[in-house]
């Protein structure tokens, strides 16, 4: 495993394949032409500017942001206690509970979306935004449980016992000694959940209504109607947003080891 040159060749190709397309989008979004082409025809900011003027993008961006934050928060509110119970209590049916809360990751998203549409939204007249919120929470839950569980496994369980022996209540012990020690994991779970929800398509595919559309769904629709580079510009902007988030998360908590 010491071969230097072949190593670098493989890594160069890998990076080119994984990251190259991103540079292509960035370049395409500065095109001056009116159709998608590469190399871009001329240079302009007009498509980047256009992104900010498309009203539906603004609305769908706001919805996706809102969903990603609220659903991830809800998934953590549900996920942290269940992870804690699974790692610190000897529960009967523990594996069943784990399977139930992880199942949204195994069932294909499009099936989830369809099921929710047919059996919650249609029969009960549930609000689309509410259904999106519930679906995204369910979707993020497995990630939250996985990342938080891993952090808890890496944390010695005797520290809570020590805290209780020193006079803390069980709940107090959780907030005083456990939570501070799994902060990194919770932050990582939040970022992973946020990104997962924000980029999610299949679950949201059927859960759209008049004026209610998540950003990625909106982009797909826009692409079908128009063949101009504004989706490239929007894609580039979103990619920069993700890179920024990941870069900061990597700096502060070493994000990639939680993925």
């Amino acid at each position: 495993m010491k071969a230097r040159l072949p190593s670098y060749a493989v890594l160069t190709l890998l990076v080119l394949f994984l990251v190259g397309p991103f540079f292509v989008i960035v370049a395409a979004s500065f095109s001056a032409g009116s159709t998608l082409a590469f190399p871009p025809q001329g240079f302009s900011f007009k498509w980047v500017e256009k992104v900010f003027t498309v009203e539906s993008f603004q609305a769908s961006f706001a919805l996706s942001m809102f969903l990603a934050i609220v659903a991830t928060f809800a998934a953590l509110v549900l996920g942290v206690p269940v992870s804690y119970a699974l790692s610190r209590y000897r529960l009967p049916l523990a594996e069943t509970v784990r399977t139930i809360v992880s199942s949204p990751i195994i069932v294909p998203g499009i099936v989830v979306g369809l099921a929710l549409l047919r059996y919650l939204v249609v029969p009960f007249g549930m609000d689309i935004t509410l259904s999106l919120f519930l679906a995204h929470t369910a979707l993020v839950l497995p990630y939250a449980v996985r990342v938080v569980s891993a952090s808890l496994e890496n944390l010695r369980s005797d520290i809570e016992e020590a805290a209780v022996l020193l006079g803390s209540s069980r709940i107090g012990a959780f907030f005083r000694v456990v939570l501070p020690n799994i902060r990194g994991g919770i932050l990582a779970a939040f970022i992973l959940g946020f990104v997962t929800s924000f980029n999610q398509v299949p679950v949201s595919l059927f859960l759209t209504g008049p004026g209610v559309r998540t950003l990625p769904i909106d982009m797909l629709g826009y692409m079908e109607r128009t063949y101009d580079p504004s989706v490239a510009a929007l894609s580039a902007l979103l990619a920069f947003m993700s890179i920024g988030i990941v870069f900061i998360a990597e700096r502060f908590i070493g994000f990639s080891r939680y993925v």
Binding site: M1, I25, F38, Y89, L114, L141, V201, P202, L220
Partner: protein, 275 residues
């Protein structure tokens, strides 16, 4: 370990009930819909599915794409993972960061890039025409190849990460030990490295296969209605044909593939632990 069960359940139940009500119950009702046609319990929807040559073709294509993407990802994954673990610790961390990064970028954006690359006026066609290999643009989009490339790009990082951590967890010095005992590199790979990284390969393989088979965006954008997969077919059945029975059949097939692969994974993983 705490003994108080009531406390443990109180912590675990909200999430379990939420997942069950919001998610498992509707999915089960949906699946049962495929066996409940015109007020009768029947499997006719399933026999219809397998009798239809279009449906069979789509099923076969989906499986084929999934297997092909997984195989190629495994080969590229091993090559990349070897290269990554041979780096110094600091550049290794940076490289893993670069591999993880695309996973965080919107799949719509990542798939969209292939439109720019593979389109009629895209890079590949421009290059081919400049070199003179072709006079007019060739059709690259809306082909299985385009879907294959898109899926590979989307899911390769998962394989690379799994294999890197499998290689990192391999015991020290077993590779040099095999070398000293007379093994060439091929023998070392198949007799030592592959068995010792099998679990990582299976985990990575499951993620890539399930991801590819259940992906919507990539086949929708790069395959269109020319290269339907089970997921895009399901979408069409609902939105165009409004055929919920058929949709629920496809849903069950998808779930079986996904669950089946996951169960297989667990089997292989535990078989190794017992050994």
């Amino acid at each position: 370990m705490f003994q108080n069960r009531a406390e443990g359940f109180a912590l675990a139940l909200p999430a379990a009930i939420f997942a069950a009500v919001i998610f498992i119950v509707p999915v089960i009702i949906l699946l049962s819909g495929g066996m409940h046609v015109n007020g009768h319990w029947t499997l006719s929807a399933y026999t219809d599915f397998f009798a239809s040559s279009l449906d069979r073709l789509v099923l076969w294509r989906t499986l084929k794409l999934g297997i092909l993407v997984t195989l190629v990802a495994a080969i590229i994954g091993y090559a990349s993972a070897f290269a990554i673990v041979s780096l110094s610790p600091s550049s290794r961390g940076r490289m893993i960061g670069i591999v993880v990064l695309p996973l965080m970028i919107s799949p719509v954006a990542r798939t969209y890039a292939w439109l720019v690359i593979l389109g009629r006026t895209g890079i590949v066609n421009q290059a081919l025409m400049t070199v003179g290999l072709t006079d007019e643009p060739i059709r690259l989009l809306f082909s299985q190849t385009a879907v294959f490339v898109g899926l590979l790009q989307l899911f390769l990082p998962l394989m690379v990460i799994s294999l890197v951590s499998a290689l990192e967890n391999m015991p020290n010095d077993v590779v040099p030990a095999a070398r000293v005992l007379g093994a060439n590199w091929l023998q070392i790979f198949f007799k030592v490295i592959l068995p010792l990284t099998r679990e990582g390969l299976v985990i990575g393989g499951t993620l890539v296969f399930v991801g590819s088979v259940t992906a919507y965006i990539t086949p929708a954008i790069l395959g269109g209605s020319k290269v339907l997969t089970l997921v895009t077919l399901l979408y069409q059945r609902v939105t165009i044909a409004n055929d919920l029975v058929s949709a629920s059949v496809i849903a069950l097939i998808l779930i079986v593939m996904s669950f089946g692969t996951n169960i297989l994974l667990r089997k292989i993983a535990t078989a190794r632990n017992r050994a």
